[in-house]
């Protein structure tokens, strides 16, 4: 096994997990629904790149690319639905903060 590739993948793992953490942090820390969506996007970027890197180091890049293409399509549809929900919340409450979502408890 090629040591360079191993090291490269390690590098990607390190940085991409940081990127993932940044996304999670954004989701948990913010009170703004749109920012939550942005955090979600950052996380998705991280895993997208991780899959490409995994394909690259295992010389399986074609598979990784086809997966990522599908993933991007899914991402856009899910984001669209998420945006629809946020707009709906705004239309109903005139607010896009998490406070609008504290109705149900227990």
């Amino acid at each position: 096994m090629n040591g360079d590739l191993n090291q490269l993948f390690g590098l990607f793992l390190l940085f991409l997990s940081l990127l993932l953490i940044a996304g999670v942090y954004l989701i948990t820390a913010t009170r703004n629904l749109i920012r939550i969506l942005i955090g979600m996007e950052i996380m998705t970027k991280a895993v997208t790149l991780l899959i490409i890197a995994a394909g690259y180091v295992t010389a399986n890049i074609a598979l990784a690319q086809s997966i990522v293409i599908t993933l991007i399509i899914v991402e856009v549809v899910v984001l669209l639905v998420g945006a629809g929900i946020v707009v709906g919340v705004f239309m109903l409450t005139g607010d896009i903060s998490v406070k609008a979502l504290k109705n149900m408890r227990g």
Binding site: F9, L20, G23, V24, I27, L33, I36, M40, M43, T44, A46, V47, T48, L50, I51, A53, A54, G55, V57, T58, N60, L63, A64, I67, T70, L71, V74, V77, V78, V81, G82, G84, I85, V86, G88, V89, L92, T93, A100, L101, K102, N103, M104, G106
Partner: protein
């Protein structure tokens, strides 16, 4: 062959959106009904009817599984889908909305059908995302504030879950080199030193599935989503969506031999036990009918996961059987709650009482559902819990088995609380002209109740023929 279930449904959705729209809007419901019935037929006659059509797609490169697990899942999807469809017909008055709903329901069913037949980790994720997207839209279908809240919470936790799963896919790709189930199976069966990357990959994927199936530390989204969704969607969600998107994949991974490491088993057992306990305790405090059922759902998923933790063939059988039972029973109870809500307009259990006197069918079927889910014989819920318990016992996990047995008592107590508050007892004032819910509520609940009774009484036959060879289950 199973591909036809996807192709037909997809074609149907496409066709009914073509002109003449007015005509197709009228028949959409009946078409969906027909398709789901077709799926039922398919499950029972997988070979004979379809051989001719099979040649059509045999040239394709769609690889699918068609084992008993998939068949059971397809069956549950068809049943729950039908129930949700009928309730939707009663629940949604506007024709336009019903049309949209039927289309989404069909798409959701396509997603689930796909999910239970795929043979690839990533394709599994893809179909899971299809189901999730369709479900978000269906939850907010009535556009009230609670619905948006439930949907958004579900959305966020699902986003985290899918990210974890994709990270798992990435790590698996880097260590196993492929994503197909066969590759995974071969890797985990033959590799002497399973690399840390693969284990972490599986763990991440599992963590995602845990969130998706609402196991205890990750269950926050589930009650909100169930409670806020329109009644037919609650049925769909509780009955099958969370089971097929979370638990099915876990069972599948288990059957592939991916969950072999002892630590993973311990993890499943611990999470399962915690989920049973906390879900049931939380259910005891609920005042909202649907929310109580949602917590009960969490608790029952715990049983399935616990059964997987046994790691034996009998354990998987128990998990599958309980999953099927739960699909039947939880849809039954949600139909009951929908029926009550359709007549009284409330879900607050404190404002109810003695409705069985005026709604005999709803009352009787809810008793059957409640007893069955609490594992009281002679209903089917007893047998699946028994299989789980025996599996745990045989695997040497005596304490877990005893725990699983005694935890039924908790289930029974909140179900009895529900019965006492809603159905059993004196009719409270102000409901003198309460009537039985409509035919579209009664029909599914009676059918579901008959299924659970039939399965319960006919269990000895089933155990030998469908579920597993008799040899495993020593009478």
């Amino acid at each position: 062959m199973t591909l036809l279930l996807i192709i037909f449904f997809l074609a149907a959705v496409l066709i009914i959106n073509l002109p003449p729209k007015a005509f197709f809007k009228k028949i959409a419901f009946w078409l969906a009904l027909f398709l789901l019935l077709l799926q039922l037929v398919f499950v029972f006659l997988p070979r004979s009817l379809w051989t001719g059509l099979n040649t059509l797609c045999s040239s394709n490169n769609f690889s699918m599984v068609q084992d008993s697990l998939s068949m059971v899942m397809l069956l549950s999807i068809a049943i729950v889908g039908l129930v949700a469809l009928l309730v939707a017909k009663a629940h949604i008055k506007s024709e336009n909305k019903l049309f949209n709903f039927v289309c989404l329901l069909l798409l959701c069913c396509i997603g689930m059908n796909g999910m239970v037949v795929v043979t690839d980790l990533f394709t599994l994720y893809l179909f899971l995302e299809i189901v999730a997207a369709a479900v978000y839209i269906m939850i907010v279908f009535e556009k009230n504030q609670n619905a948006y809240e439930g949907a958004f919470k579900y959305f966020i936790l699902s986003a985290i879950a899918t990210t974890l799963m994709l990270a798992g896919v990435g790590l698996t790709l880097s260590t196993v080199g492929a994503l197909s189930f066969t590759a995974l199976q071969i890797y985990f069966a033959n590799t002497a030193q399973i690399s840390a990357g693969a284990t972490i990959g599986v763990l991440l994927f599992m963590a995602g599935l845990f969130i998706k199936s609402g196991l205890v530390p990750f269950h926050g989204w589930l009650p909100d989503a169930y409670q806020a969704a329109p009644n037919p969607v609650s049925i769909l969600l509780a009955g099958i969506v969370t089971k097929s998107s979370g638990v099915y994949a876990l069972v599948r991974l288990g059957m592939l031999g991916v969950l072999v490491p002892e630590s993973l088993k311990t993890l499943l057992l611990a999470f399962g036990a915690a989920t049973i306990l906390i879900g049931a305790l939380a259910a005891l405090w609920q005042k909202d009918f649907k929310r109580m059922l949602a917590y009960s759902s969490i608790s029952q998923v715990g049983y399935i996961v616990l059964s997987l933790g046994a790691g034996t063939l009998l354990g998987y059988a128990g998990a599958i059987f309980h999953m099927f039972n739960h699909a039947i029973l939880k849809s039954l109870l949600f139909v009951n709650s929908a029926a009550v809500e359709s007549r009284t307009g409330t879900r607050d259990m404190d404002a109810m009482g003695g409705f069985a006197a005026k709604m005999p069918w709803t009352g009787a079927t809810s008793v059957i559902g409640a007893l069955s889910i609490s594992g009281i014989p002679p209903f089917s819920g007893f047998w699946s819990k028994l299989v789980i318990v025996i599996a745990l016992w045989k695997a040497g996990l005596h304490y877990y088995a005893a725990f699983a047995i005694l935890a039924s008592l908790l289930t029974l107590s909140y179900m009895l609380y529900m019965q006492r508050k809603v159905f059993f007892g004196k009719l409270i004032e102000g409901y003198d002209d309460l009537r039985e819910a409509g035919f579209l509520y009664i029909l599914p609940s009676v059918i579901l109740a008959l299924i659970t009774i039939g399965l319960g009484i006919g269990f000895p036959f089933i155990v030998g023929t469908m579920l597993m060879p008799v040899a495993i289950f020593n009478w």
